[in-house]
Every structure is written in structure tokens, then in C-alpha cells.
């Protein structure tokens, strides 16, 4: 633990401004130019390969196009300046700590607060697109057998929805809230590696664009899981899926590395592990998963790229490979990914509950143990995704047991939440409502997960809408509700303005009601035998499907209430937020709003934990030393 921060200059370093500087516009130009050059090179190279000549598309060209496009994009953004300058013994200084104005959000920045806001906007856009895809899916399912889309188009829409949501929500909390608040909550003035932080963000929108570009190549038929042999045989849209996942995987690893080093090394004096806010613990455990899971995904993705471009046979049974190899590697990443989504949600709601219950967090160490337990066990459950894929039957009981076991540390977290609420004088603010709904929804998702982990029930329900309902209850009912709790809780600090409370409550109640109205019937639909990813279904299921579709449209409309509130509050009303509107104790709320560029005026010393609510004798949470002044100022 230390507090050895870089002294702040008297005024923040201003980056070059104007259109000629490195920014998103030039990044997009670089992307297009790099892609075109890569395509040209790939066609020159690919024409010499038999397996390219035998097909009517050239995966080599497309992959080289994406690779060079990525380099061009990063160059245009100015992110490669520093690595290139380092080769010549210089330090590239084109990324400013911060500057003012809206244009800073379209440039690479090393200010963790700017990056947090960039994540919020970027993920919000892709979340909206993914949501629109969900509306298209439900439109198709209004009728049992009168297609709105062709089967191929339907599969592409399903795949885009799943892949985009999974890729984007991987960082939905760690991105905006983790980057903005973790340094503030531990008393640091920055992340450990600010340039890496900028890179990890800018890879995410690129991944989204690449994923969207698959539409131009005919889409991909595999859903978000990319299973071979379907994936190996798919047209060129599959290349975009693979590249997008590779970019997201790299971004996740860099994100995790940065977050872990920051928490390990940048804690202020007095910020002991016991005083570390529970939200930071959730970021820490999530980062462990993000560090160790995605490399397996990267390995699998590259194997698939090689199968598609150089004729290797990783996933082809007829040539010495096996499609089950992909399933093992993918789910070694994929199941920890589920907890990459769940743990930040736990962190947010446990951070919020004490504030609005005005009580200390009950059993904080138990909650931490729960998060660590989930982290450890999440690497031991992946084969439950292969229960019906021909794994050795003697392995099934072990993976059934570990999957059931993981509900125990999850239960710790529920216990801590309930213990905190016990006999509390609860303030039913919008963030608190979303946090409480998180527990309701996640309970249903968690219990149905235990049910699915049993081999007999999984064998009969595998691939059905029951599974779909289960994971939507955990991911949307859990993570997305926690995300909204976080937005309503922290946006006053992030944006410096208040959100409208009345619209917030309308948003909450409509979302809560229509979410449950959408996904609860899907358990029944699944048990009645309707499989996922099929555009047609038995006529007797139409009533339930129509109910679900209409509920889904209303759920979509409830998001428009949020969007209206967000746009109105940020762009029109702009009511300045108080520095600490919730009377919270954690460090970020002790800072003025908006947070100064260099966060803390002086070095921070932590004096007490963040959850000592209801204790009049509790000391202030921190004290500030004399202002830090850079040498020469």
C-alpha cells in the first residue's frame, strides 16, 4: 500500500486541439485506409492459396484488412504515438491527461474520469443497438410460422444481439464506474497505466464496429458462442465475429491488468484491505477473472482463424481435430464471463445498500469471501455447458457438484444484503429501488441456475428457452438493473447534474414490471419445448410468445423513458448536483462536483471505513495533506 502519486502540474497538460490533432475522426480514416490496404494485400496473398481459390470469398484478405484497419484506427487516435516514440528513446506525449469541452470524449485521454464517461456513452450506444436487435427477434416470434426475416437473417440478428450484449456488458460496470470511481475510492489520482486505460477503452467501440460490419458479409449463423463446425463453414461474416471477440478479449485483459495494479499499488495510506470499499473488491475479483479467462478465448479464436485461413484442422473431426475443443476452450472463458458480469453487480448493490439503509454493510468480510469464492469456483464449472455434448459421463457429477457449490458463496452475498436491510430505515430512492430489484431478479436467475446445473434437468432443458430465461434473469435482471442503480447513484458525480427523480421512478417501475413480464413466461415456453435460435415454433405456443413479445416492446419503451431522462437532464435541464446528495461516506463523495482534473488537491490519508453509518462517533473517512505541487511550480 502506498500513496506515491505523480505530482500534479499547476494546470493540466492541454492536448493539441482542433481537427488536425489525433482523434476519432482520424481513427476512422485510419480504419478505412488500413482495411483497404489489408484487403488489397490479402487478395494478392490469398490468390496463391488453394483453399482460397476453391471458395468465392477470401478470409485471408478480410482478416488482414481487419488487422491493418485496427492499426490504422489506433494510429489515427494517437494511441500508437507513445509505443513508437519509445522505440527511439523518446516519450510520446500526445495523449493529454485532460482537456476541456466535449471534444475530449472523441479523443484518447489519460484522465480516468473522461475514460469512464467515454465507456458510459460507448457502451450505451451499443447496448441500444443490441436492444433493437432484441426487438427484431421478438417481432419475428410474434407469429409461429410466417417469417418476417429469412432463417439466415434471423440467426444473424440473434447472433448480433447475443455477441454485442455479451461483449459490451463485459465492461458495462467495470468500464464506466470502475474507471471513474476506483481511483477515487482508493485515494489515487489516476489508474496505474493511463495510456493502457485509453487503449483498452478504444478497442471496445472498434470491436462493436467490426461486429456490425459482419452484416455486410452476410452475418454469422452461430449465435454468440461461435460453435464449429458451423462456425468453420460459415461465410466471411464469421471473420468479423472472431476479430471482434479477439479485440474485446485483448481489451478485457488490459483492463484487468490495469485495475489490479491500481488497486494493489495505488491505495492511499490507511486504505487497508478491510477498509477497501466492497465495490472495489468486486472490481478486483472481476479483474482476476478478466485476466485469466479471455486468454483461452483468444487462443480459441486464433485457432478458428487459422482453420479458416491456413487450412489447419483444430476443429475439424474429419482432419484430426474436434469441434469439442472449441467448446472446452470457449466455455473456460465463457463461464467465468458469466461472473465477470455478475460480480460487478454484487459490488454495486452492496455499495448502495448501506447508503440508503443508513446502516453499516452487514458481514463485509463474508461478502468479500463470497466474491473470492465465486472467483475461484467459476473456473471449475465450465463443463456443465457440455453435459449434452458427449463428455465422459463420469465427469458429469463433479461439474454438477461444483456448479451447485457456487451458489453457496453467491448466497453469502445475498445474506449480507439482507442483513444490511434488516430493521433499516430504508430510503426508497431510484438507485435503491434498482438495487432491491437486483436481488429479486437475481434470486430467480440463481435458483433456476441451480435447477439447470442438475444433469437430468439440464439434459431435458438444454438449448431451450428455459436456459434463455435463466441467463436473462441473471444478466439483465441482475447486471443491467445494477448498472441502472449505478447510473442513478453515481451520475450526479460523473456528469455534475441531477437526474429527474420522477422519470427515474417511472423508468424503474416500467422496467421492473415489463422485464418480469417478458422473461418469466419464457421459463414456461422453454419447459414446453421451444428451442432457442429457431424462427418457427409450435402454434400452441403463440399466446405465450405474443405475450412475451408485447412485454418486450414495452420493456424497450421503458428504456426510452431513461433515454429521455438522460438527455433532458444532461443537455436541457442541467440542474447542478450537490457534492454529496446521498450523504454517503465513501471517498468519491467527499470530492467536489465536478471532480477536479487531478482529483485530490493533496495527498490522502484514510482514517475510517466507508460504511460506518449510524455511528455518530465515527471519524471522517479521510484527511487531505497540503496541496501537491510539481517541481518548478
Amino acid at each position: 500500500m502506498s500513496h506515491t502519486e505523480t505530482p500534479a502540474p499547476a494546470t493540466p497538460a492541454a492536448g493539441r486541439s482542433g481537427i488536425l490533432t489525433f482523434n476519432l475522426l482520424w481513427g476512422l480514416v485510419g480504419l478505412v485506409v488500413g482495411y483497404a490496404i489489408g484487403l488489397w494485400i490479402g487478395h494478392r496473398m490469398g490468390s496463391r492459396f488453394d483453399w482460397v481459390a476453391e471458395t468465392d470469398y477470401n478470409d485471408v484478405a478480410i482478416l488482414i484488412g481487419y488487422a491493418l484497419g485496427t492499426l490504422g484506427y489506433l494510429f489515427g487516435l494517437g494511441i500508437l504515438n507513445h509505443p513508437i516514440a519509445r522505440m527511439f528513446g523518446r516519450s510520446g506525449g500526445d495523449i493529454a491527461k485532460s482537456s476541456t469541452g466535449w471534444s475530449r470524449y472523441a479523443r484518447a485521454s489519460t484522465d480516468h474520469k473522461v475514460i469512464g464517461n467515454q465507456y458510459l456513452i460507448g457502451i450505451g450506444i451499443f447496448f441500444f443497438i443490441g436492444g433493437l436487435n432484441a426487438m427484431l427477434i421478438r417481432t419475428e416470434l410474434l407469429h409461429p410460422n410466417s417469417p418476417t426475416f429469412s432463417p439466415g437473417q434471423y440467426l444473424t440478428i440473434v447472433g448480433l444481439h447475443g455477441a454485442m450484449m455479451i461483449m459490451m456488458v463485459s465492461s458495462i460496470i467495470l468500464g464506466p464506474f470502475g474507471h471513474f470511481f476506483v481511483p477515487l475510492m482508493i485515494g489515487s489520482r489516476r489508474m496505474a497505466f493511463p495510456r493502457l486505460e485509453a487503449l483498452s477503452f478504444w478497442l471496445l467501440p472498434l470491436a462493436g464496429v467490426v461486429l456490425m460490419s459482419t452484416i455486410a458479409y452476410g452475418g454469422f449463423p452461430t449465435g454468440w458462442t461461435g460453435y464449429p463446425t458451423l462456425g468453420s463453414q460459415a461465410d466471411s461474416g464469421m471473420d468479423g465475429y472472431l476479430v471482434a471477440f479477439a479485440l474485446v478479449g485483448i481489451g478485457m485483459i488490459l483492463n484487468a491488468l490495469n485495475m489490479l495494479v491500481t488497486v494493489f499499488n495505488h491505495r492511499a495510506p490507511g486504505m487497508t484491505w478491510a477498509r477497501l470499499p466492497i465495490f472495489v473488491w468486486s472490481m478486483l475479483t472481476t479483474s482476476v477473472l478478466m485476466l485469466l479467462g479471455p486468454p483461452m478465448l483468444l487462443a480459441a479464436v486464433v485457432m478458428e482463424m487459422l482453420d479458416r485461413t491456413s487450412g489447419t484442422a483444430f476443429f475439424s473431426s474429419s482432419s484430426g481435430g474436434s469441434p469439442f475443443l472449441w467448446e472446452n476452450l470457449f466455455w473456460f472463458f465463457g463461464h467465468p464471463e458469466v461472473y465477470i458480469l455478475a460480480l460487478p453487480g454484487f459490488g454495486i448493490v452492496l455499495e448502495i445498500l448501506p447508503v440508503f439503509a443508513r446502516k453499516p454493510l452487514w458481514g463485509q468480510r463474508l461478502a468479500i469471501a463470497g466474491m473470492l469464492g465465486v472467483t475461484l469456483l467459476s473456473f471449475m464449472v465450465w463443463q456443465h455447458h457440455l453435459f449434452v455434448s458427449g463428455i465422459n459421463s463420469s465427469l458429469r457429477p463433479f461439474y454438477m457438484f461444483t456448479t451447485e457449490l457456487i451458489s453457496v458463496p453467491t448466497g453469502f452475498i445475498f445474506l449480507c444484503g439482507i442483513g444490511t436491510l434488516w430493521r433499516a430505515k430504508i430510503r426508497y430512492t431510484v438507485p435503491m429501488l434498482f438495487a432491491l430489484a437486483f436481488f429479486f431478479n437475481f434470486l430467480i436467475g440463481g435458483l433456476s441456475g441451480v435447477y439447470l446445473s442438475d444433469v437430468p434437468s439440464d439434459v431435458s432443458l438444454h438449448g431451450s428457452f428455459f436456459v434463455m430465461a435463466h441467463f436473462h434473469y441473471t444478466i439483465m435482471g441482475g447486471l443491467v438493473f445494477a448498472f441502472f442503480a449505478g447510473i442513478y447513484y453515481w451520475l450526479p458525480k460523473m456528469a455534475g447534474v441531477e437526474l429527474n427523480e420522477r422519470l427515474g421512478k417511472i423508468h424503474f417501475w416500467t422496467t421492473f414490471v415489463f422485464f418480469n413480464s417478458t422473461f418469466l413466461p419464457l421459463f414456461a415456453v422453454g419447459m414446453l419445448g421451444m428451442p432457442r435460435r429457431v424462427a418457427t415454433y409450435a402454434p400452441h405456443l403463440q399466446f405465450l410468445n405474443d405475450w412475451v413479445s408485447i412485454s418486450a416492446f414495452l420493456l424497450g419503451a421503458s428504456m426510452l423513458v431513461f433515454l429521455a431522462n438522460f438527455v433532458w437532464s444532461l443537455l436541457v435541464a442541467r440542474i447542478p448536483a450537490a457534492a454529496n446528495p446521498w450523504m454517503a461516506r465513501s471517498l468519491e463523495w467527499q470530492l467536489p462536483t465536478p471532480v477536479p482534473v487531478w482529483d485530490f488537491d493533496g495527498p490522502v490519508r484514510i482514517l475510517a471505513g466507508p460504511y460506518e453509518y449510524g455511528n455518530p462517533a465515527a471519524p471522517p473517512v479521510m484527511e487531505l495533506g497540503p496541496p501537491i505541487v510539481a517541481a518548478g511550480d
Binding site: 502506498s2 500513496h3 506515491t4 502519486e5 505523480t6 505530482p7 488453394d50 483453399w51 509505443p83 519509445r86 522505440m87 527511439f88 528513446g89 496505474a192 497505466f193 485483459i253 484487468a256 491488468l257 489490479l260 495494479v261 494493489f264 499499488n265 495505488h266 495510506p269 485476466l291 485469466l292 479467462g293 479471455p294 486468454p295 483461452m296 483468444l298 487462443a299 480459441a300 486464433v302 485457432m303 487459422l306 491456413s310 487450412g311 489447419t312 484442422a313 483444430f314 473431426s317 474429419s318 482432419s319 484430426g320 481435430g321 474436434s322 469439442f324 475443443l325 472446452n328 476452450l329 473456460f332 493533496g602 495527498p603 490519508r605 484527511e623 495533506g625 497540503p626 501537491i628 517541481a631
Partner: protein
Amino acid sequence: MTDITPTAADTAELEARNQSTAGRLFVAADAFLFLGFLFAYLYLRALNNNDLWNPHGQNPSGTMGAVVLVLVVVAAAFVHVASGRMAAAGPAAFRAPAAAGLAAALAATVLAGTQLFRPGFSPSHAGGLGSVFIGFIAFYFLHLIGGVYWLETQIVQRPSDILRGSVPPCLLYWWYLAVVLAIFSVLFYLV
């Protein structure tokens, strides 16, 4: 109130600690990437689908593999010596042995590239073993390029306290690359 104003030395110490922690974490993450290829090797070899693990007995060149391994170990050893000299005699003593390490690393990279682009067999007819070899060597080649870049940037920097902090993770990385290649060399050339 205790004076906790950071000093310049503190900041350099923090940067060194950051790089050291990040280096170890990166190696941990990266090991999982190679574990993917280790899993693929063991899984496909055990399955031996249609007797196509190694259908034509087309093994990658052991001689070339051995040379690459020796060069990587030599590179790591030179970086080790450079790191030791820097600790004993200051940053100025780092450059000469590190440059020798860089030369070995460059040679290893060129040869690994040759293994990738001229493996001596067609990937499309090489079965499971050939596939895993191509996949592994492609990744390893990229790792070597990354290692060469890292080492080169250390050498061209002005000697400073930051250099002291950034050399140990670079050293760790090179020894890690050597260990990874040694393990896979046993699998590809000896088993």
C-alpha cells in the same frame, strides 16, 4: 497530521512497483493463452480422430526448434546478466549485455518466423499435430516480436530510475518465453 507529500523518489519507486506487478500479472494471463494450446495438444492427441493426429509423420524440424530454443535461452541469459550488472554498477552497465541479448532475440524471431511460414509441411494436410504446431508457433512468433520490442525500448532509453523498474519484468518475460518454448519443444520434438 503526518506529512505524506510524495517525493520524486517515491514516484519512481511506484512506477517500478507498477511495472513489476504488471509484468507478473501479464505472464500469469499469458500462460493461460499457451495453456489453451497445451490443452489442444493433449486433447487432440488423446482423441486422435480418424487416426489423423499425425497422419503422414510430418514432424516440424527438431533442429530448427532446438536452435530457436537455444537462442531464446541465450537472450534471456544476456538480459539476466544485464539486469545483474545494472543492479551492481548502475544503469550504464546495462546496455552492452542487453544488446547482445537483443541480437540473440532477433535471430530467434527470424527463425521462428521461418518455422511459421516454412514449416516443411502443408497445414491443410498435417492433422492435429501440425495444426497445434502452426497455432503455437504463430503465437510464439508474435510473443518474440513483442519481447524484441520491449528489450529494444529498454536499451534505447536514457539510463534513469525508471529503467531500473522496467528491466525486471522484461527479464521475467524472457525467462518465461524460454520456459514455454522448452515445454512445447518437448511435446513437439521429443514425445
